[in-house]
Every structure is written in structure tokens, then in C-alpha cells.
């Protein structure tokens, strides 16, 4: 901006204000276009590889087009009249027939079965029977009920009603252990099916604990690094970097070996006579804490270190010369100055561990699996992508909510990530 002011200075002298404005605006436009061009690769990258897939994901979490696309006749009937009368069963019969030819009945059956088990057999049986059905069926309703009573039961009819709309809150509610009842109101899932609220709380708790452990372990390391001689600083830096550069999988697998029943830790403890039988150190929560802390520690140390290096040493000396004891000087003068690095590092660790998948999956037991494990489970094993997307959305929302909470609590602008004018 400064340069443009200078370039228009002669005109300013001549008093041509409107010309000045024009030039000023033009210069600003040029500059804006220039910086926009520079930003373009990043912008494109963000749109193509971040915004688009996330939008697609959000979409899958609420989109369930199976019934409406492949069973159009009964969809139309239910949307117009809404009752399970003879006409409904007639349209259903038509749908079953045409989906048999198009080989799409299985997709509808699976969607219905996600809500209420039993539909896969019911649809399968109906498809087979429809192949040899007589031309003149007098009552389609009794044709279906003869095949399977469940076609007439309210639980099953409600599941059909819930599957008809192309957009649904079925998956999102499921991630909160809820579903819609008969009248459309919310109700809790049966206790033995309710799992996700627990998993979300567990994910948050594990992430919080790991962050705290990282702060406790990382702070002294960063401090030592920042205050050591150049030679020692490099050695320490290399130590942190070395583990940081080692492949994630190698580090995780190494923990399994170190902590296993007949591994070095148990052997050493037994040789020293501290324990009689080997301890269970891996495939439980302890293993998850150890491995996750080890993997995420550098993400805390580096931001903290970079802030600590910039803190003038004179300030501590000044505090002491004014009569503060070393402990007091440390906590009142030094620690507050490290807050920007500390909060950046802690948030990084927390957000990374909230979404961590591979390490808990390898070193944790079933009671230690975090949300990402279930996202992978529903994506890979049961190919229930709607539920997987809803869980992912859930994770995203939880992260965003926590981040805004953090922004709200830390009102000091200097401590905010991406806060204005630091």
C-alpha cells in the first residue's frame, strides 16, 4: 500500500483527488489480483482435496436414496397417501419385480436391514416368489403376508417409512445412540445397541489425557533444549527429530514388541524382582497412552521450543534482581511467555489424537478404540458408508466445537491460533 501512495504523490500535489482515488483503487486491484494469483494453487488444492471430499462426506451422512431410486412406485404411493393398504402392496410388488431385473433389490434390502433386521430375507424371498407369481393376483397384501407375516408388522412398516425420504437423519441420530420412534419423535436406541456416545466421550478423554502427558513430558524437554549450549541443543533436537522422522508404523510396532508379555520391559522388571508375573502392558489403555504420547510429543515440543528460544534471558534475571525467588520468577515471568507455544502445541496434539486411527488400533484393546476405529469399521467391514460418514461428521463437529470453546476461553488475542494482529 505504501508504494502506491508514493507513486501517486505528484498528482496529490496537483490536487487531482478523483484521479488519485482512481489510481489508488487500480493499484490496489493490481495488488489484490497479484496476491490472489499467488494464493490460487493453495485455493485450488483446498477446494479439490479438502472442501469437495468433506462436502461429499456430509452429503453421504444424510443421503439415503436407495429406496426412492430403486422402489419408485411404492415410494410415490407412500408419499402421496402414506398408508400401507392394498395399493401399497401392489406397487411394492411392481418394484420387487423391476428391481429383480435390474439387480438392485439387494441394495434396498440392505438399507432396510440396517434399520430393522429381517428385511434381507423378506426381500430375497419376495424376489424369488415374484418370479413364479401368477399373473392375476387378487390381493397383493395377502400375497406378501403369506410369504412373511412381518410385511404387515408396524416395526417393519415404520422402517420402510423411514427409508423412503432421500434425505434422512437416520445415520446422524444413530451416532448419538438415538432413532426416530413410531410417531417420528426421538427415542433412545436399545441399551445393547447404544455405543457411540460412550466412544465419543472415550475419544475425548484419551485425547485430553495424552495432551496433558505430552505437556508434562514435553515442557522440560523444550526448556532444556532452549537453554542448553549449542552443541547440546543440536544433540537434543536430533533426538526428538529422529523419533519424529521414523515411520509411524515402525514406532507403533516397536511399542508392541517392547511392551509385550515376553518383551524387554517385562523381562527387565522380572529380572529385577519387581514383579512375579509379566504385566499386561499392551493391548490396553496403558499401551495406547504410551504409544500415542511418544508419537505426538514432537508436535508439542517444537512449537514450544521455538517460542522459548525467543524469550530474552534478561527477563528472568530482572525478576530475580527485583527480589523474586527462582520458582516465583519462573511461574510469573517465564511460563506466561511460553503460553503461545504451549497452547499451539497442546491444540495440535489434542486435535491429532482425536482423529488417530492406526496406533490405538494396533496397541489398544477393544475397550480403547476411538471414534476413527469405528469409522474404519463401518467403511471397510460392513460397508455402511452412511453411518461411517455420520460418525466422521460427528468427529468434525466435536473438533470444531472444542476449538471455538478454546477460542472463547483464551480471549487473549496473542494466544489465539490465527488470531488477528499478533
Amino acid at each position: 500500500m505504501q508504494s502506491s501512495t508514493y507513486s501517486t504523490e505528484p498528482e496529490l500535489r496537483s490536487g487531482n483527488i478523483s484521479g488519485l482515488r482512481r489510481d489508488f483503487a487500480a493499484a490496489e486491484r493490481r495488488q489484490k489480483t497479484g496476491s490472489l494469483l499467488l494464493l490460487l494453487p493453495l485455493l485450488l488444492f483446498t477446494i479439490v482435496f479438502f472442501a469437495t471430499p468433506i462436502t461429499g462426506l456430509l452429503f453421504r451422512a444424510v443421503h439415503s436414496p436407495e429406496y426412492a431410486s430403486f422402489f419408485p412406485n411404492s415410494t410415490e404411493h407412500l408419499q402421496s397417501s402414506g398408508s400401507f393398504n392394498e395399493r401399497f402392496y401392489e406397487t411394492l410388488f411392481l418394484d420387487i419385480r423391476s428391481s429383480d431385473e435390474a439387480r438392485t433389490s439387494g441394495r434396498v434390502a440392505r438399507r432396510l436391514n440396517q434399520d430393522q433386521s429381517g428385511f434381507i430375507t423378506m426381500v430375497k424371498r419376495a424376489v424369488r416368489a415374484s418370479r413364479s407369481a401368477p399373473e392375476d393376483i387378487t390381493s397383493y397384501q395377502s400375497w406378501f403376508l403369506d410369504l412373511d407375516d412381518r410385511w404387515g408388522e408396524p416395526d417393519y412398516q415404520n422402517a420402510i417409512r423411514r427409508a423412503v425420504p432421500k434425505f434422512t437423519d437416520f445415520y446422524l441420530l444413530a451416532t448419538l445412540d438415538m432413532k426416530r420412534g413410531e410417531t417420528g419423535g426421538f427415542e433412545k436406541s436399545p441399551e445393547n445397541q447404544a455405543i457411540f456416545v460412550n466412544v465419543i466421550l472415550r475419544t475425548l478423554w484419551i485425547s485430553f489425557s495424552v495432551t496433558m502427558i505430552c505437556v508434562l513430558l514435553g515442557y522440560p524437554v523444550a526448556w532444556t533444549m532452549a537453554n542448553a549450549s549449542k552443541k547440546w541443543r543440536n544433540i537434543l533436537l536430533l533426538g526428538v527429530l529422529f523419533s519424529f522422522w521414523t515411520s509411524l508404523l515402525v514406532r507403533t510396532a516397536a511399542w508392541v514388541i517392547v511392551l509385550q508379555k515376553e518383551g524387554p520391559v517385562n523381562n527387565a522388571l522380572q529380572t529385577l524382582g519387581l514383579i512375579d508375573a509379566p504385566l499386561q502392558l499392551v493391548f490396553n489403555r496403558f499401551g495406547v497412552y504410551v504409544a500415542l504420547t511418544h508419537i505426538l510429543l514432537p508436535f508439542l515440543i517444537f512449537p514450544l521450543y521455538s517460542v522459548m528460544v525467543g524469550i530474552p534471558k534478561d527477563l528472568m534475571r530482572a525478576a530475580k534482581s527485583l527480589g523474586a525467588r527462582p520458582v516465583r520468577a519462573f511461574f510469573s515471568i517465564y511460563v506466561p511467555q511460553t503460553f503461545p507455544g504451549l497452547s499451539a502445541g497442546a491444540i495440535l496434539v489434542f486435535v491429532l489424537s482425536i482423529g488417530y486411527y492406526i496406533t490405538p488400533a494396533l496397541v489398544g484393546g477393544p475397550k480403547d478404540q476411538m471414534l476413527s476405529y469405528f469409522i474404519a469399521f463401518y467403511t471397510n467391514n460392513t460397508i455402511n458408508w452412511g453411518l461411517a460418514a455420520a460418525l466422521a461428521l460427528n468427529l468434525l463437529v466435536v473438533t470444531l466445537v472444542l476449538y471455538s470453546l478454546y477460542q472463547y476461553i483464551i480471549r487473549d488475542k496473542r494466544l489465539r491460533l490465527g488470531g488477528d494482529d499478533v
Binding site: R103, T104, S105, G106, R107, A109, R110, N113, Q114, S117, G118, I120, T121, K124, N192, Q193, A194, I195, N198, V199, Q260, K261, E262, F283, G365, P366, K367, Q369, F374, F377, T379, N380, N381, T382, I383, N384, W385
Partner: protein
């Protein structure tokens, strides 16, 4: 060669590149199976003979049974797998979802050439009978280790971790058998709400003693390292470990057996080659060859007599091994896998 001029070489190289580009458009036949000792045996019995017979390259890769990749491939229309080996319920599910090609049995010798169960819905060609058995290390427990599922549950007599597969399928059946349900009534019991409760109550008894396995290679590893004292395991993996010198015992009482089948991914550009491969892998001498290397049961009617005498006693389909055996109910699991897995995950994660 020395007389060739540079432009000629460049032209030749361009042509070669263009050719290889078209060749990669019609890529090699890709076969997906379960990895480990099993896929090694398949390589000897099926993959190598196929390459020798046809002169075509065959690429084989392992997976852990995830349907996601197949679904993604078919949805996107970029199919990179051709033939996949699958468990029966997953195979039928995938078939119903339109992810697999319907099988034309006339191209592979007709349905009469195989045992009836090997006609797996519209899309599957049964290739082996596999079984989950109880196994333990005789070097650690002696020869009188756990002899059935009730013993498997007995943590007083055999303290230590035991390993089960981390799926509702297999685990719930084993729990009911441990609770005294005879094999032929397991699915009647499991079809009721009380039966499911009963299975989970039985699992509660040993919950803290279970170390879950997810890949077939884990149980023999854990038995060998002493991490688990007794385990459920695929019979072939235990037999392979014994072959390698381990002193593992296989307990056939209460074995759970099922078929695995070949399926062709919908939209595969190599359908003809896929049929050629499946035909070759279904021929009795090749199947017998596989069973000799790893004792899973063959599906071709003429294959069992062709296997080695010593191997026959280790096959899941051997009459001695079939006493109190439980055939896994495909239809039951197609229907209930989602709800029971949800409840199973819920139970396991608390």
C-alpha cells in the same frame, strides 16, 4: 544394434511405450485372497499353473475381507480386482448389491461337478471348506489341553489369555456351544433374543481373558510366543505351523466350518481370463494339490479321493472331524450380521 540411428531408437522406444500403455489398459488378471500361508499354497497350486498354462501374468494380492474396496471400485467404474475369494455371507451380500458378476456355470464344468454347497448364490464358486478349531501348544500344556469349547472357557484349569476372532460370527456360536448347546441347535437358540443374551452372558465369563484376533496369521503367532494359552484358529494355519515344526494340537470337537468362494468383480475387464482361472482352480487335481499343501477341504466331487492319505484326516470334511461340528449358517448371518456386530462391538468396547 550399433548401426541403428538415434531417431530409429527414439521411434522404437515411442512405439514400445505406446504398446505398454495399451497393455496396461488391458491389465493382467488380478486375484485377491487371504494372504499368509494360505495364499502361498494357492500360488503353488493355482497361480503358477495358470501362468504356465496360459502364458499370461497373474497378479495376486492379499486382503482382510473388506468389501469397501470392491464397492468403491464398482461405484467409480475403475475395477482393478478381477477374482476375489470371499466368505459366504459377504459374497451373497455383495452379489445382491450388484458388486459381482453372476456365474455362468457352463463355463466352469457345471454345478454337478462340485458339492452342492459350492454353488454359492448367483455369484460364487465354492473353492474350499475351511474350519475354525480350538488349538493349543502341546509344548506348554502337554497333550491334554482343552478338549472342547467348555474347556476353552475354563480359566481355572488353563489360566491365561485365549484368542477368538473379533466378529460376532464364530464367537457367539462358540459361546453357546461352551454353554452346552449342541451344535445342531446353535442357530435355533441364536435366532431368539434370549439366545443372544445367553451367548453374551457366557462371553462375560471370560471377557477379560480374551485377546481378539483379526487376521488368520495371528493365532499361530500368539500361540508360539506364549501370548495366548489356547486359541480359536483356522485349521489350515495350525497345520502349516505344525509343518514348520510347532507342536500345536488341533481340537475338532465343536469345529465351525463354512465355504469360501471365488467371485468375479462386476465390471472386470478380464472376465474371460477370470473364468479360465476359476475353471483351473476348480479342477480336482489342482484342488487336491492345494489340500496337500494346506489342509482345507476341496469342493470338487472328485478332489477328496485325489488328496494324500495323510491329509484326509486333517480335512474339516473328514467324517471323524465332523462329529459335533457346526456348519456356519450363511443366511442367518446375512440377516443378522449388522445388528449382532453392533451389539458385539458395544459389548466388547465396555
Amino acid at each position: 544394434m550399433t548401426h541403428l540411428k538415434v531417431p530409429t531408437v527414439i521411434a522404437a522406444a515411442t512405439v514400445a511405450m505406446a504398446l505398454s500403455a495399451t497393455a496396461s489398459g488391458a491389465r493382467d488378471l488380478t486375484v485377491i485372497s487371504w494372504g499368509g500361508a494360505y495364499q502361498d499354497a494357492q500360488r503353488d497350486a493355482f497361480f503358477q499353473p495358470y501362468q504356465e498354462l496360459t502364458g499370461q501374468t497373474l497378479i495376486d494380492e492379499p486382503y482382510n475381507g473388506e468389501l469397501a474396496k470392491i464397492k468403491a471400485m464398482v461405484e467409480v467404474g475403475d475395477v482393478t480386482w478381477d477374482v476375489v475369494q470371499m466368505e459366504a455371507p459377504e459374497l451373497e451380500n455383495a452379489c445382491d448389491e450388484g458388486l459381482l458378476e453372476p456365474i455362468d456355470w457352463s463355463r466352469i464344468g457345471g454345478q454337478d461337478s462340485v458339492i452342492p454347497d459350492a454353488v454359492m448364490g448367483d455369484c460364487g464358486v465354492g473353492t474350499i471348506v475351511w474350519s475354525v478349531i480350538i488349538a493349543y501348544d502341546e509344548d506348554r500344556l502337554g497333550s491334554d489341553g482343552p478338549q472342547n469349547w467348555a474347556d476353552f472357557w475354563n480359566v481355572e484349569q488353563w489360566p491365561g489369555k485365549r484368542s477368538l476372532r473379533k466378529t460376532a460370527k464364530l464367537t457367539l456360536e462358540a459361546a453357546l456351544m461352551a454353554d452346552g448347546v449342541p451344535a445342531d441347535e446353535v442357530y435355533q437358540v441364536l435366532a431368539t433374543e434370549e439366545g443372544v443374551d445367553r451367548a453374551f452372558a457366557k462371553l462375560d465369563e471370560i471377557k477379560d481373558h480374551i485377546q481378539w484376533f483379526e487376521s488368520g496369521a495371528q493365532p499361530p503367532q500368539w500361540l508360539a510366543s506364549g501370548d495366548v494359552v489356547v486359541t480359536a484358529a483356522y485349521n489350515g494355519r495350525i497345520a502349516s505351523a505344525v509343518e514348520e515344526g510347532r507342536n500345536f494340537a488341533s481340537v475338532w470337537d465343536g469345529q465351525l466350518y463354512a465355504l469360501d468362494g471365488w467371485a468375479i468383480v462386476n465390471g472386470s475387464p478380464n472376465v474371460d481370463a477370470a473364468y479360465d482361472f476359476i475353471k483351473l482352480a476348480t479342477e480336482p487335481e489342482n484342488q487336491a494339490n492345494l489340500s496337500n499343501k494346506i489342509p482345507y477341504g476341496p469342493t470338487h466331487v472328485d478332489a477328496i479321493p485325489a488328496t494324500d492319505e495323510a491329509v484326509q484326516s486333517q480335512l474339516p470334511t473328514n467324517p471323524d472331524n465332523l462329529q459335533n461340528a457346526l456348519p456356519i449358517d450363511t443366511l442367518f448371518w446375512i440377516e443378522n450380521v449388522e445388528q449382532l456386530n453392533q451389539r458385539f462391538n458395544n459389548w466388547a468396547s465396555q
